[in-house]
């Protein structure tokens, strides 16, 4: 019982960390730091899964934690580092909305997400109830980050961070999805990353820049 209690404490701590990291990503402009923050998020996620697995004695959560660690701490950050180095992008020029405003909006979002998740979280049967709001907040914050960034790489990182939020939700709310689904999701994310990487090179080749403001030609205005 105490062990479960401890796991619960840990999970709540991890959830808080995750939210903090999401805010940090929202505020961060350096791309390298963003990648590092993302790696940290991955690590926290893997830890959460492991803690859950420990607390509930569900072995497939360990597998999930391992896969997460491998992909989100290992493969993807490595890949992102390679890409940024090869493409020589370090900074995001300017966010579309300035960062203080973004942060204030972020707080509003978090409140909204908590409010939304509150009644549902109580229905959850897992020990991680209450963290669903945080997962939702992470998803929404990442989405907002994608909206505010004007370079392709941060946008991709935002996309990945959003996926992290989803993963956290899956773990927190339901002890993880069925195995086949989880593997499928991981595979999709991996392939998606590869494709994105290829794309970044091609975009760079076409436009001599990774600024997504070049990607605004197709319109009906």
């Amino acid at each position: 019982m105490t062990l479960t209690g401890l796991a619960q404490q840990l999970i709540h701590l991890f959830a808080a960390l995750l939210l903090l990291l999401a805010f940090a990503m929202l505020a961060q402009r350096r791309i390298l730091s963003l990648i590092n923050l993302y790696t940290m998020q991955g690590a926290v996620l893997a830890a959460t899964a492991a803690a859950m697995g420990y607390a509930t004695r569900q072995p497939h959560l360990y597998v999930s934690a391992l896969v997460t660690a491998a992909i989100k701490v290992g493969v993807i950050p490595y890949f992102l580092h390679r890409v940024t180095a090869r493409l020589n992008v370090r900074w995001d020029v300017e966010t579309l909305i300035n960062i203080p405003t973004t942060l204030i909006l972020g707080i509003v979002l978090v409140i909204f997400a908590f409010d939304l998740a509150q009644p549902i979280a109580e229905l959850s049967s897992t020990i991680a109830r209450g963290t669903l709001g945080i997962a939702l907040a992470c998803v929404l914050l990442s989405l907002m980050m994608m909206i505010t960034r004007s370079k392709a790489v941060p946008q991709v990182i935002g996309f990945l961070a959003m996926e992290n939020g989803l993963f956290f939700a899956a773990t927190a709310a339901t002890y993880g999805m069925p195995m086949v689904v989880e593997l499928g999701i991981a595979l999709d994310v991996l392939i998606g990353m590869v494709i994105l990487g290829v794309f970044l090179f091609q975009i760079r080749q076409q436009f001599d820049s990774l600024d997504i403001r070049h990607l605004e030609r197709l319109k009906d205005q």
């Binding site: 909204f112 929404l140 989405l143 994608m146 909206i147 004007s150 605004e216 319109k219 009906d220 205005q221």
Partner: protein
């Protein structure tokens, strides 16, 4: 022997038209087969259809369900007196036009002849099936097929941008009209979900919804009939089409709108309100006036005829409106009289307008000219066409003893019943409408004199006109058939009224009681009014012959030819005749507020002084352009949604999620 022999016959004949159409597709570019075999076959089918329809006029209604269409709503067909009357019109006029077409489509019209034959016969078949349809789905399918086929026929000569534009406008307004009709059916079914006419007929709508249905029907069928303000396509599309197609469209297709309107206003709607009649009457008379006034100022012969069709359809709708008015007050026999007048007019118009369009087709083939300013004197080089057109023009001018006059006579007679209406306001109003109808009828004469005089009389305005050739055998046959029908309609009105009696009995609950003995048309009683065109014609002819004989007997028949006198002016050239514009000038002046005119006046210092006047339709500027601008502005506004920035798109997604979440958890 099937239970519905006549309906089966009519359906088989429509199918035969379709089959002829497909045969046309097979004979894609073999003009000889299409023209000499398929079109005459189509004419024969038309005649047969007219025969079946005439037989069905007196017979009880027949119905049949075909196993195609929607699940739960297969195609229902029904042949009653109303459908039969219009089928007879379609078959009769269609046969004449098909005969004419057999000689007409000798050259390429842009579309390959086989395809043209296909579209033409599908058009005919669709019109026949519109009249037979007994459920909303079948009706709509046939209605739109008819629009589609005619759209392709209108744009047969698709190289010209002007014709393409006309076709576009036509199909657009036809489609909007169809939408209104669809809505009308939707209102009529009154939430029962059953779209058979039998069910629509059985519904008892509240006055509000019934009125909504009526107005939708008026708008929908008005769009097809060219009622103001939905008439703008008509003067564009009818001239653009090849002449036989114009003939079919003006002569027959517009009548499908009349048919549909009658079907809904009299058959499907349970009871009528008086103001429906007033509305139809007002719209009809406004249309008639606008049509005839614009016809008078046109400088293109087919456009002139198209405007004249607007006028005639306006008169038909005015008659229907009057019938509704009488019907709403329970004056059944008066309603029957007005309805007979409207039907009669529709019938007469079908034949004389087809004839006139056929004549313009022959003129265009011979001269490749449509503009009145370049024609003239054709009676001498193409006498067949010239005399045929004279018959058509006299009928269109509403002159006794031809068909157009009989219809107008009946219409005016029905106006004389209005003082019996128990509504003082209407009593005051309706005579004014009668006066306007008289004005329209008189103006129609003006228009026809202009049309005939400028095209066929006087001196040829172009050199090449003297080399024009007359119509060929098929064309003559077609025109002769149409003339014969026009004359028969004019001379035997009592027979026509008798034939129409089942229709008015069905729709208005009464028929003209005494159709008079034989040749005399007597709507009520001899003391009240009577009209005997045959006797009338005999009188005129007798006087004519007597004068001719006596003058020769008593004096002599000597004639000398000499140059024209013209007050002694020796250098007469064709340009000194009145032009079409000149002939229209008094009308332009008198009805100035109805036009949107742009004049180009020369100043005293112009090196090459030139006078030009352009007459536009004010409805176009007052209604259509603002609508088009509004759509454009909305589209511009909506266009901002797609402004190219991915961040904004993500923001939409974000906002949408938030909004839906708020909605869901509210």
């Amino acid at each position: 022997m099937s239970a519905s022999p006549l309906l089966d016959g009519a359906l088989a004949l429509a199918a035969a038209w379709l089959a002829i159409g497909f045969a046309g597709l097979a004979a894609w570019s073999r003009t000889a087969i299409v023209a000499r075999l398929l079109f005459p076959l189509g004419a024969a089918v038309g005649l047969a259809l007219a025969g079946v329809a005439l037989a069905a006029l007196g017979a009880p209604a027949e119905a049949r369900v075909l196993p195609i269409g929607l699940p739960g709503l297969p195609f229902h067909f029904r042949l009653d007196a109303l459908a039969a009357a219009f089928l007879a019109l379609l078959g009769g006029a269609g046969a004449g036009v098909s005969l004419f077409s057999a000689g007409y489509f000798r050259r390429e019209e842009g579309t390959p002849p086989g395809l043209l034959g296909f579209q033409y016969h599908v058009f005919l078949a669709a019109m026949a099936l519109v009249m037979l349809a007994d459920d909303a789905y079948a009706f709509m399918v046939m209605w739109e097929t008819m629009a589609l086929a005619s759209f392709f026929l209108v744009t047969a000569n698709d190289r010209s941008a002007e014709i393409r534009r006309a076709g576009y406008l036509y199909l657009l307004i036809a489609h909007l009209g169809a939408i209104a009709i669809l809505l009308c059916f939707g209102v009529l079914q009154a939430n029962t979900g059953d779209y058979t006419f039998a069910n629509l007929r059985a519904q008892h709508l509240s006055p509000f919804w019934a009125s909504a249905a009526f107005l939708l029907a008026l708008a929908g069928f008005g769009a097809k009939a060219g009622l103001v303000p939905l008439h703008v396509w008509l003067p564009e599309a009818h001239p653009a089409a090849p002449s036989p197609v114009s003939a079919l469209m003006s002569g027959v297709m517009l009548k499908t709108a009349v048919y549909g309107f009658l079907r809904i206003a009299f058959d499907l709607l349970p009871a009528q309100l008086w103001w429906w009649g007033a509305a139809a009457l007002a719209v009809g008379i406004a249309t008639a006036l606008l049509g005839v006034v614009f016809a008078a100022v046109q400088a293109d012969m087919k456009r002139l005829l198209a405007w004249s069709s607007v006028e005639n359809l306006g008169l038909v709708f005015a008659g229907i409106g009057l019938a509704i008015l009488f019907g709403a007050y329970g004056m059944k026999s008066a309603a029957a009289l007005a309805l007979t007048a409207a039907l009669y007019h529709a019938l007469a118009h079908a034949f004389f307008k087809s004839l006139l369009f056929a004549a313009t087709g022959a003129v265009m083939h011979a001269t490749s000219e449509r503009s009145l300013g370049r024609l003239g004197g054709l009676l001498r080089v193409m006498p067949w066409v010239g005399w045929a057109a004279l018959a058509g023009a006299l009928a269109a001018a509403g002159l006794p003893p031809l068909g157009g006059f009989a219809a107008e006579w009946l219409l005016l007679q029905s106006f004389l019943f209005t003082p019996q209406l128990p509504n003082g306001f209407l009593n005051m109003l309706v005579p004014v409408v009668a006066a306007l109808i008289a004005l329209v009828a008189a103006l129609a004469g003006y228009v026809m004199v202009k049309f005939y005089g400028v095209v066929f009389l006087g001196q040829p305005r172009e050199e090449k006109l003297s080399r024009a050739h007359d119509a060929g055998g098929w064309e003559r046959a077609g025109m002769l058939w149409l003339i014969a029908a026009s004359v028969a309609l004019g001379l035997a009105p009592s027979r026509v009224v008798e034939a129409l009696a089942p229709v008015t009995r069905l729709l208005a609950g009464a028929a003209l009681e005494s159709a008079g003995g034989g040749w005399l048309l007597v709507p009520v009683s001899v003391a009240r009014a009577s009209y005997g065109p045959a006797l009338f014609l005999a009188g005129v002819l007798a006087c004519f012959a007597l004068a001719w004989v006596l003058v020769r007997r008593l004096y002599h028949g000597r004639v000398r030819r000499a140059p024209a006198w013209d007050c002694g002016y020796p250098w007469q050239v064709a340009r000194m005749q009145d032009t079409a514009e000149g002939f229209g000038q008094p009308i332009r002046q008198i009805f100035e507020p109805m036009f949107r005119m742009r004049r180009h006046l020369p100043t005293a210092f112009d090196a090459r002084p030139r006078y030009a006047v352009e007459v536009g339709d004010p409805v176009w500027h007052a209604l259509y352009l603002p609508v088009a601008r509004a759509v454009e502005a909305t589209a511009r506004f909506v266009g901002r949604l797609q402004q190219g920035r991915i961040a904004i798109y993500l923001a939409y997604s974000f906002a949408t999620v938030i909004a839906i979440l708020l909605w869901v958890t509210r």
